[in-house]
Each structure stands twice: as structure tokens, then as C-alpha cells.
Symmetry: D2
């Protein structure tokens, strides 16, 4: 299975083409709608006030309610776009955002409105694809679930702490970063290979770094390994009936790039939303002068609450590749 | 360029095939030898006492001193193998090592001697490939350099601290983890794409997770972003003459999966060497019983000192892919 | 650049996503429309009477008239579908068509209406993609052009012969096969490699066999080489000023999988349209009985006239891959 | 499974790395030796007098007699090289050979001795890889067999006709082309997809065009389709017990890029050996002058007799990719 996401934040539509979807799958559209809703904006005062129905229209790959195995294309219309908000970004890149990199990659031809193809909005088709992937995985006993593991430096925050931290940043016309932990259960031991294109950690990383704002990933104890000794880090084996298990799972279910049968666990760090309303230093790419920039538009002070399902989607798609689906 | 590493720790030879090497390159063999020496064991009492000349013999791809563009195969003989040391590992996997995962991936047919294909020894051909890649990159103004950024929890350690920490672990029949920071300079802005197979962070991750014992990677501030606010994390732009630069480089030279012209920086965490001489809990995969395991053989109490050049090699090969070489 | 075609003949829409389109390209929409028209049905009594405007709507990847480098998605609505014509194909595969193979590949979940994803209609988005590719190639001095080189056994037929042969087949409730020859000019010498994934002949083949009904491909003299001697087949070199050329071009511009600077020439064979109105032997896949099948619906007695631009499109996309675009 | 062939005709060794070989396979080395012998030179007066034992030495990927799943590297030493024979080819490319293309691809750095990496000798490691692939396929009920289907224009020649045709060409200081037909039995129906990277015809083509001197491929009736009508070309279905079969197999077991359960059949055309001892027109790439070239060295007047097993090897490797091995 292979996905290609297309679209721009302020273009006519965004969407995704999923190639290699197994045939014969009856998709649960309520489940897909619920997954889309977990990512949708405008749910609380923690998120952007942009409201979009985000209803995917399927153009292909489904016949009489089942997947056909041919490419599945789903399109989501852009309806609530206020492009005027972004006029000053044509020439002045937002610090921390992909604006400048995108400008240079395209020779100045990028669609800068709302971040264009680099907008967080493009995670909507990713969540759609992930919702399909989750249903394929469910049929093989694989479950993916994520949670906020850090916000603004607070480890394993309560829902209240998350809310307070984000509101505090919002009050300060600022944003805040965090981390999301994800667990994938159900992999048999022995899947993967050590080399750079079949390595399970490498595959997950590749999908997770395609999620906007993800800047780090650690498997199992992750960077915690840097402070550990071997006697502590090594996961002791034991027989659980006829099954080999480990008493701890510091390694996060992967050794030598191969699954060991324990849950695959990883954590990803998200940078704070780069669009903040404070005045920031930028440059005018046309006049080549230093400028002060005020970013307008509607932005999340923290993407974490909406990003949990996005991380799960990326992990589900990665899991399909791991399984050779 | 594409590399394929082959061989087992205790087989006749290890090696690498590099396809797609640009033609016409006159390789600096002294440089390659020096790079190999940076990784070679037996240099100090911090590393394994295994001694191998590690001299790569080139079988193909070079003619009259220059690369031909045809696949370059380099082979390194295994001369100092003591396979008897590993007899008890045939059935009893080492905690923390790839033994069990490799056993399951191969249906019990893996070469377990010295970790077989999963041995740290396989980083020798990786360093060879990296040394070739560095010379290709040098011709394009790209430099790669790494350093130990953490050992056993000590951040930015001095050489003395590194030595003390490793010796202390060795004394305790234990091992210790750490981290290596790497910087790649010289990328023009605008290279890469946001999607999951051209994303610069994704490409680097894929190569770095193929390095044995790497368990985490962070770009720029990495997991530090989880404790930051946007006002702190965003890198302010300014004009340096006619060049756009950022005053800070928290983002590590990459935004939206695309280079921004600043140095690409990342840090990787290494787990502690899993082979420690203390008694550990394992299982006998044949008899399906719990057992106590004593790992014999010669092992590094910490791979970090030898791994610096390995990280550089992986980063150099990743950089070639980023540049479309 | 990479293309993914989606859609089914009788679904809501068909389309294509082009990833990796170079940024900054101002597309010539008149040219694209003309290319689409070359493939469109209903132009003469030689082709199916199905009429569709085939107007591609671009959903992404274009901003202010120029490509942005982000994926370009173009959608073509299906408006003139008569699905009832295909009712009897649900269980009874058409001899020579992909019906049965598609049925088996999808476990019976394929959209059989009008051939579904296997319909010749899916060449419309391919022609769109090819029209984009041709414009990219034109900027690099590469031209692609094809012509009917055989119809019903007549070599290098005149337009009259083509018309007569096809009409004769139509009168007989039959169809007829043929061949299309294609020339690509402008490749510099030295592009490609002998191995199986960079080989120029291999790359072209891969794209051409993705065109429905193509069953053979030959480069230069192609199967004619089987009757030649070396003294005749070898293309003698000579200096044309400072340029190396060959007096003949039997090899079709490619030696050892690498371009030699002469025009790349190849010929592809098309099978006769499998949908003919004569009664044919088939089976009922549900009841597992032998049946007699009458194929209804509107079908071309010969695809060649519409396929010329399709072959050019596939060749243009292949040429982009050859050039590393 | 993925193969990378390395080496040059007159370098120290040639070889192949096979990645992704299924673990646990006990290779039949007698079979491998017999396959190598089918390709080996010096067997009759029809082939070059170069004699090499061509004994592959396995460096990795085998442990205790079974494949481990880690990359398998096999090396074949070059022992009987007479490089002086090729001195005049340094600057003067042989018409019909890859010399000039290789020169341009490498900026003049190619190893021209004996064709270097483009030598037919490189088919030895290909045959080795194919012999491994055949054993994997045999375990899945897949058989590959090829035969000479044409020589010098004679269709389905007897062994006597083959010998006479080749000897006649040799007497004339010339060479002769031909074709090889190949059949792969045992594919289940429904494998593959229509698109350009999973298309079964596309996959086979890619592997076959990597065989030196192959210039055309046709599936089933191949170019014969160009002279057929649909009523003749369509393969009628019938029930054979509970199995769907076709009475004819003009389509060569593939429809829409997907297997239909009938044998996959194809034919490939080989150009005449380009190295002939007659004087030919060439150019001096250094002095940029027209020259007369006499090719020395030992060459086959026809590669067909040795190429049968090479075609089978390429087909076996392609079959593995088709099956997702």
C-alpha cells in the first residue's frame, strides 16, 4: 500500500490516493468519520476556529461497498478559506514554518496561502488513509493507539494540565510543543531486517517525519538509553507458557530493526506551532530586506490534541509497510 | 547511489556493494584507511580486544585509479574470529541483542556466531561506504562531522569524562549508553519535499536507524522542542548580505522536510552494548526453558568512541540520497 | 516524477496524481486539450460512439498559473456511462480482456462495469500526464512522436489502408490488432545503466506495458535482429564534425541499456480489442458453467488511432524517469 | 529479493549480492554447478574458447548449509583474462557494442577491457542468482524453461540448423542473431496489477532487458497480435473441472498486467554478437577521427546457445518479484 497526499490549504480540494489497498475490504465509514472528527478543528477553544466538514468523497477504488484493490482516491473540499489573511506571507516567510524552505524548493512558485501544501490541513487526508489502514490492520490483530506524553515540558500530563498549558501559551500570544507516545500491538516476532530499507525503526521514522512539526523520534526508552547501563537497558527474556517474552520493553519491541513480538512503542516530539501572533523577525524575499512580521490567520496554539490521531494514522500506514501490505 | 552490506561476523568475509557511484572519482585511499582506523577495534582499553586489519579489497568499479560508475564491491576478510566463544548463544538469545529477533526472522537459521549479520563488525563496510560518500560530498562542498554529545547521562562530556564513564561501566561488568551529535554543512536551501519518501528528516532517519544500537534521533532541538514555546523555538530570519539566514538553528536546517540552507544538525541515541558479562535471564529456544546466561566473547563496554565515524558514514550516505546522487 | 492513475470506467471520476513535477512550469492548456482530443472517442466511425468532454479539473499543484512542485491532481468526471450494457459481465469474463484476471486479483470484488479500472478510458489521465511530461521534456530539447506502423498485418499503412482495415473488421463484428512506432529525440549520449532498474530499455518497457493492450516491445530493429547478421546489425560510427554518430540506427539509440545520442526508437504491438460483438465462449464464474457470451456496449474495433497519443504519453513519462526528473 | 551484479570482465572478480533471500533454504549446489555449466564458454566450437572454471565462492548469507535471510554474496574469480587483446578498444568503440555508450556514461572512465562491466561474462553471476531463484520457485510449484525459438531467421530451428547457422556465420567472420522463448508455469491466477510498477509484463521486461543483447520482448503472440483479429486472438474460456482455463494462450498467461493462471510465455530477441572480426567503421574518441577497426579477442559468433539459461535466470528472478519474494 502506498499513499500520495495532494492539495493545498487554500486550493479547491485536498485528498489522498491509496494504491495497493487489499481488495474485498468493507470499510466502516462511521469509524472513518470518527477518526476525521478526532483531528477536525473547531472542537474546543484549544484549537483553531477554522471549521470544515472534512467529509471525504471517494472517487475510486470502492465498488458495491467493498474495496476493489484498484487505487482509492478520496477528496476533501476546501470550503472555509480566508486567503486574505495570508497576503503578507507571499514575500515574508514565517520563522519556524516551511514557508522559506518551500519558497526555495519551488523557485518562489509555492502556494504560500495558509502554508499551501505544507499546511497542517493536509493531515486530514492522512487521517483518512490511516483510518483505512487501521481497518486493514484490525483484520490482522494489529492495534495502534497514541496519547499525549508531554506538553510544554510536563511529562505524562493530565487532561487539565494539557488544557492549562495550552491556554497559558495562547494568552501569551505564543504556542507550545510536546510529545506523543504511540504503541502498536500485535506484530509477530521476526518481521523486518537490519538494513536501511526494511528496518522497522527506519520505516516508522519515515512515516512519522512526514507528519508536519515532528522533529524527533525514539523507540522504547529512546533518548533515555543515553543515560542507561546495559544491565538496566537489556530486557530479560522469560517463557510465558510457550511464548518468549521480555520482562521489560525498553527496546520498544524492535531489536536489530526486527520485531521481537513485544509491543512496538515510540515517542515523537512536536515543535510548538510556528504561527504565533507576536511580532517576529523575518525578511522580505523580494526586496531582500529585514522586516517585522505579524502572522494573522487562525492557528492552534498547540497541535498536540489534534495530532494524536495523526500520529496513529502515520503509525498505521507504517505498520502496513512493515507487514508488506 | 545505493549500498548493500553483506557478511557475518564469523563468516569468511564482510563487504559492501555501492551502486551508482559517480564515475571519474579518484578515491583517496589514505583517507579511507584513516576512516576505517577511526572505527577499528583494539585501539585502547575502552574497546574490544579483537584485532583485525580491516583492509578493504576492491573487486570492481575502479579502473586505472578512478571509479567507473559500475558497482563498486569492497570485501574485508574476517581473520580474527573465535567462534567457540559463542557456542552457548546458539539457543539462548542475549537480552537486548538482535539474537532472538534474528532467530525468529530466519526460522532459527541465523548465523548466531558473534551476532552474525547483526554484529557491530558490519559497520566496517558501512564506514568504507561512508568514506567514499564523503569524498563525493566534498566535491560538492558538503562536510559531515560528528562528536559524542552524551555518555551515561553526562551531556557534552570531556574526553576524560568519556573515559571514566566507560571504564567505570567496564569495572562493573556492565556497559553504558550515550548519544552522538552530527552536523552536515553545505546543503543549499530548498532540497527535499514534505512527503514520506523525499523528506530530508525521513531520509536521514532511515540511514541512521540502520546503524546497530541507534534507538532515537532528533533534528535540531529534537525532544527539546517538547519543552519549548514557539517564541523560543522559531528561528528568526535575517539578511546576511544577500543571503537569508536564521539567528538560531533550533530546527536543525530542515523545515517541512526541506533544507533551509542552515547546517543540518541531529543527535542520535545509542543503547548500551547489550553484551555484558554479568549473568542475565534468558530462555533456551530449543528446550523452551528459562535459563541464566553468561555472555562470553570480547565486547565494547560502550560503542560510542568507535561509533562517531559510523554516524558520519550513515549521514554521508543519507546526504548523497538527499542530493539525488 | 511519479504518476498514479485512479478511477473506474463507470465510477464518479477518473484521474491522476503526478508527484515530483518540477516547480515553476507554466502549462500550456491548449496543448493539453489538443492531446486529450487526440485520444478522445467519438471522432470518427472508427471509434466508439461514447462521447465525453474529458475535461481535466486540476485540484492541486498549480498556483497563479505555475506548477508548485507539490503533487498535481487532475480529475476527469465520468458523465456518459451506460452501466446497464455491462450487466452480463458481472459473472462472465470477456475472452482476451482483463475481466477474469481482475476478478481473481480482487477475490471477485472488481468493478466489472466497462472494464472498471482496466478500461481503456483510464488512458485519458495517462494522456493528461503525458501532456505535462512533454512540456517538461520540450524545455530540455526532447521530442516524442509516434505513428501507426502496422495494422492487421499491413506494414507502414497509409491512412486509407488503416481506415479500410478497421472498417472491414467492424463489418465482420470483429476487431484488429496493430503496432505503433515511436521516436524520442534529444537524449544526450551516456544516460542510463545496464542493470535492471536503470536500464533505458527496461524503463521504457515498464511504462509501455502499463498501456492497456500492449503485448510486445522492440527497440531499434527489435525482433528483426533475430534474422540479422552482426555485419548488418552493427551501426558503424563516424564523426559528424565533432559529434560521434552512427550511419544506421538499428540499435534504436540504446546500447547496454545506455543512450548513445541517436534517436531512441521502439515499436509496440497492440492486441486486437478484446470486446467484439460476436458470440464467444466464456464461463460463469458463479455457477462454474460454460456459457456463450455476447458482449454489448460501445467498443473500438481497433484502438490504434486513439492509441498513438497514449504511446507518446507513456514514452514521455518514461523519458522523464530516464532523465531523473 | 533483489540482486546487484558487480565486476568487470578483466578485473579481479565478478559476483552478485542477493538481498532478501528467504531464510532456511538448503541450496542444491550440484544444480547450481549444472546451471553455471550451461552458460560456461568453451563447450563446443560454437562458443568462445575462453575457459574459466566459474566456480562461485559464497562469502555470506549461508550458515550450516542453509540460507540465513541475510544478503548472500557470491564471487567468481577472473582467471583467464587476456587484456592485451583489447588494447585498441581504449579509444575506438566497437559498432553495436556498449563501448561508446559506456564511455559517455562514465566520462571516459569505463573499464573497456573485454567490455568491462558490459561483458557477457557478467551473465555468470546472473545465472548463479537465477539458480538460487529457481530453487525458491520450485518450492512454490513454479518452473521456468526456455529454448532457442529462432536463429538467423529460422523459426523453431533443430539443433542441426542452429549449429549450421552459427558455423556459417563464423566462417564468414560474422555473427548471427536469434530469439529465445520462455515459459513459466505454476503462477496462480490474479497476481499483479495494471499499473507501471506491479504489471507482470513490465516486471519481466525489466529483468529481461537487463540481459545483454536482448532488444525485444513479446508476451504470448507478441508482435503476432499486430496481424490478428480479435476473434482469433481472444482466448476462449472453459471450465476444466472446477478450474477456469483458456483453450488457447495467445495472451501468454497475462491480461491487464495480471496472471490468469495459464503459463506465462514470452519470447526475447537477441541481437547478433557485436564483436566480429571483420573490419568495421569506428571513430577514435581521443583524436576525433574516423578509423577502421579490427576487433580481436575471443567471441561467440552467436550467444543463443549459452543464453538459454541466462533468459531462464532473468525470468526466475522476475518471477520472484512477481510473487513478492
Amino acid at each position: 500500500m502506498r499513499y500520495t497526499i495532494f492539495g493545498e490549504s487554500h486550493g479547491p480540494a485536498i485528498g489522498v490516493v491509496l494504491s495497493g489497498v487489499p481488495a474485498g475490504l468493507t470499510l466502516d465509514w462511521d469509524f472513518i468519520a470518527k477518526e476525521m472528527a478526532r483531528r477536525a478543528p473547531g472542537q474546543s477553544n484549544l484549537t483553531t476556529t477554522r471549521k470544515e466538514p472534512d467529509k471525504p468523497e471517494v472517487l475510486s477504488g470502492i465498488f458495491e461497498g467493498r474495496t476493489t484493490g484498484a487505487p482509492l482516491c478520496a477528496v476533501i473540499e476546501n470550503t472555509d478559506t480566508r486567503s486574505k489573511d495570508y497576503g503578507n506571507l507571499a514575500d515574508c516567510p514565517r520563522p519556524g514554518h516551511a514557508d522559506y524552505a518551500a519558497y526555495m524548493a519551488s523557485g518562489g512558485c509555492n502556494d504560500y496561502r495558509g502554508g499551501g501544501h505544507f499546511s497542517g490541513r493536509l493531515t486530514a487526508p492522512l487521517v483518512f488513509a490511516g483510518a483505512v489502514a487501521k481497518q486493514i490492520l484490525a483484520g490482522r490483530g494489529i492495534q495502534v493507539s497514541a496519547r499525549i506524553s508531554m506538553v510544554g515540558g510536563i511529562k505524562d500530563p493530565t487532561k487539565e494540565q494539557i488544557e492549562e498549558t495550552i491556554m497559558a501559551a495562547k494568552m501569551d500570544q505564543d504556542s507550545v510543543g510536546g510529545a506523543i507516545a504511540c504503541t502498536v500491538t500485535g506484530f509477530a516476532p521476526g518481521i523486518g531486517a537490519p538494513d536501511f530499507d526494511c528496518n522497522v525503526e527506519g520505516i516508522f521514522s519515515r512515516y512519522l517525519f512526514a507528519v508536519p512539526a515532528v522533529k524527533a523520534i525514539g523507540f522504547g526508552a529512546g533518548f533515555g538509553f543515553a543515560s542507561m547501563r546495559g544491565s538496566e537497558a537489556n530486557d530479560p527474556f522469560y517463557m510465558d507458557g510457550d511464548t518468549v517474552r521480555t520482562r521489560t520493553n525498553h527496546t520498544g519491541g524492535i531489536n536489530g530493526g526486527i520485531t521481537n513480538g513485544m509491543p512496538v512503542t515510540f515517542e515523537v516530539a512536536f515543535r510548538p506551532t510556528s504561527s504565533i501572533s507576536r511580532e517576529q523577525d523575518s525578511v522580505n524575499l523580494r526586496t531582500r530586506e529585514n522586516v517585522k512580521l505579524i502572522v494573522r490567520g487562525r492557528h492552534d496554539p498547540c497541535v498536540l490534541t489534534r495530532a494524536v490521531v495523526v500520529v496513529e494514522a502515520a503509525a498505521a500506514l507504517a505498520s502496513c509497510e512493515v507487514l508488506g501490505i
